[in-house]
């Protein structure tokens, strides 16, 4: 009886990691990323947001390869404080990062 309980307990512990995986696979993907800004792009005409991104953000660093759209507003607040860009630039960048 005791052995059986131990086996049941082990089976439950072994199965535990599978449940979150199954649960997450049933939910829609949460890793949707914002479009990658075309920093350094040469040929095609730029949108206002792309132009501002190149001028204001790429001056110091390269573009991240992607990030959750849930933090795009926070990124812009952070960058507004750090890079001192205008409210207009912030709004255009928000549109650019969330097309």
């Amino acid at each position: 009886m005791r052995v059986k309980q131990v086996f049941v307990a082990l089976a439950v512990v072994a199965a535990m990691p599978a449940f979150p995986q199954a649960a997450t696979s049933a939910t829609p993907p949460a890793t949707q990323t914002a479009p990658k800004p075309t920093a350094h792009a040469a040929a095609k005409p730029l949108s206002e947001g792309d132009r501002i991104f190149q001028q204001q953000c790429s001056r110091c660093h390269t573009a991240p390869e992607g990030f959750s759209p849930h933090i795009s507003g926070t990124i812009l607040m952070h960058m507004r404080a750090r890079a001192s860009f205008s409210k207009h630039d912030e709004e255009e960048l928000l549109r650019f990062l969330n097309p």
């Binding site: 949460a30 949707q32 390869e65 952070h78």
Partner: protein, 353 residues
């Protein structure tokens, strides 16, 4: 009566249009949420001088948490573990660690032109301290020789700062920062009593940025109050992945400059091709002592240093850094070999809906 019907239909049309616009806006901006984020860099570096190699694992996380639409709390920390040889005649390595908050500040967006910053903040003098110092941004492992001129040896101030974009147009923009720092002897937020600021002009069409900085140490006896002057020029030609950055800084006891250039070619399949990911980097720097009083971290004798780097930008925000430097001074010349790998991370603190 037809008019009323028309009006009613018109009203329905407007109502439908408003509803459609609301749905459109909701779908367009619904994803733009202000969830707190963690960003920063994690790296592993090695530094070889005089056949002695040291290793530096480092993590630099940054937390940014908005409170409403006008207030942002942000902080950056540095966690460094240094492994260095015990000595020339002694085998083995010793190690020490360093954990500290680099800054912790609140940003209040008062108007489109003004942001009020309070807390412990990076001193806005020239560009390296508050724009290029994060581990995932810098092209070289080491900062410039003159990085401590004008940054009050700690790099941070404790007090308040006003900053923002004074003018922004398609032709030019001007931004500014003015701060006052009180003396703080707290181990986490050490700062000196000082004030100062920076103003920058940016010409978008020419991709040229020119800025002037000034600050003054207000601590100690009046004769030790020191003025610092700085100037920076950045040029990043349009439609090119070439960047030229430079700074000059002058204090009472030393001055110096650095000029840095980096380039990525688009000629062999673009920047994300195997060749386009290579990034040659070069930096020239000189420092000059004006007297023997040391207040700024600059070497005791005139020093010249040339840094040659070759970085490789891997996919997934990872970068390999490699550089060779040769330093010249009357105290002796030496070589410095540095390698490293840096990963930049950026993710929400929690999962959004």
């Amino acid at each position: 009566m037809p008019c009323l019907i028309l009006n009613f239909r018109h009203f329905k049309t407007v109502r439908f249009a408003v509803l459609a616009a609301s749905v459109l806006c909701a779908s367009r901006y619904g994803v733009a949420q202000n969830i707190p984020l963690i960003s920063g860099g994690a790296g592993f570096f090695s530094d070889t001088e005089a056949k002695q190699t040291s290793f530096y694992p480092i993590i630099e996380p940054l937390l940014a948490a908005p409170i409403g639409s006008h207030l942002l709390i942000e902080s950056r920390a540095a966690l460094i573990e240094s492994y260095y040889p015990k000595g020339i005649d002694e085998p083995g390595y010793d190690h020490m660690h360093y954990i500290a908050l680099t800054y912790l500040q609140g940003d209040y967006f008062a108007t489109p032109y003004l942001t009020i910053v309070g807390g412990s903040f990076l001193i806005p003098f020239n560009t390296y301290n508050d724009r290029l110092s994060p581990v995932w941004i810098g092209n070289f492992q080491n900062g410039p020789i003159i990085a401590n001129i004008g940054t009050m040896s700690t790099g941070t101030g404790t007090g308040g700062m006003l900053k923002g974009s004074a003018i922004s147009s398609p032709k030019y923009s001007i931004d500014y920062a003015a701060y006052f720092s009180s003396r703080a002897d707290n181990m986490q937020f050490e700062a000196k009593r000082s004030d100062g600021g920076r103003a920058s002009l940016y010409l978008p069409e020419q991709r040229l940025e020119v800025g002037l900085s000034y600050d003054r140490l207000l601590q100690g006896p009046p004769e030790s109050h020191e003025n610092f002057y700085g100037m920076h020029v950045w040029w990043e030609p349009k439609n090119s992945a070439f960047r030229l950055r430079s700074e000059y800084a002058r204090g009472h006891h030393a001055d110096g400059y650095w000029v840095e250039a980096d380039y990525r070619t688009q000629a062999f399949g673009g920047l994300d091709s195997v060749i386009g990911r290579f990034e040659p980097v070069f930096r020239m720097q000189q420092s000059f002592r004006r007297d023997t009083i040391v207040s700024d971290g600059v070497p005791l004798v005139n020093t010249q240093r040339a840094d040659f780097g070759m970085n490789y930008n891997l996919p997934h925000n990872t970068r390999i850094l490699f550089s060779y430097s040769r330093q010249f001074s009357s105290k002796g010349n030496f070589n410095d070999w540095q390698t490293g790998i840096v990963y930049r991370f950026l993710f929400p603190v929690w999962k959004g809906k």
